[in-house]
Amino acid sequence: MMTMARVAGGWGFRHVLVVASLLLIFSACDSEGTQIGAPDRHALGPADAAVTLVAFDDYQ
């Protein structure tokens, strides 16, 4: 039982490490990825509005 508990505990810790690493990788990717609403050089309305509409348009 002690051995099983140690093994389970060991795998649990490794899982935590793996998940934490993945979270770090994903958060890094997200911060470098394309943001729909940024840059918002030309924005109308409150910056803290609950809803943001981003429109991509062409003048022709």
């Binding site: 729909i36 809803v51 943001t52 429109a55 062409d58």
Partner: protein, 144 residues
């Protein structure tokens, strides 16, 4: 679509409207977008954008938005034309426009107008569809 959204949602403080360029219909699309950025430098992005859109022509890239025409529109709108011309000729905002277009491609944008509401693509981008999507988003957020 934009005037309706601004009147019904933005002016009531419910929605933030972000305008970005997807200048994909040729060189005059790109120059018009850069010109709008130059107008923005003088605080006139929205006014100039409306003016450019009101002067759309059927024959794309046929000179309707040649630099001389874009300059004339800036003059008509009352901008400092020396500053505007320098900005346009120097391509001061070319990289910004290119970045917007690159971002649009990366997001899967294929035509205009293309609308995202709280990150969700909304299609078609007509008034009724956008209005319904905004109402749903506001209901979910509790902001309506």
């Amino acid at each position: 679509m934009k005037p309706v959204v601004i009147e019904e949602y933005v002016e009531r403080g419910l929605v933030r409207f972000v305008s970005r360029h997807f200048a994909f219909l040729g060189p005059e699309s790109i120059r018009a977008a850069e010109a709008a950025e130059c107008a923005g430098e003088q605080g006139g992005f929205e006014d100039y954008s409306r003016l450019v859109l009101a002067n759309q022509r059927a024959n794309r890239n046929g000179g309707g938005f040649a630099d001389t025409k874009l300059m004339a529109l800036a003059r008509f709108a009352g901008f400092d034309t020396n500053v505007f011309e320098s900005c346009l000729v120097d391509g001061k905002y070319a990289a910004n426009v290119q970045q917007d277009v690159a971002d649009a491609h990366e997001l899967g944008v294929r035509g205009t107008p293309s609308v995202f509401i709280n990150g969700e693509f909304v299609s078609p981008a007509d008034v009724e569809t956008v209005r319904a999507a905004l109402d749903r988003a506001l209901a979910v957020s509790g902001g309506g």
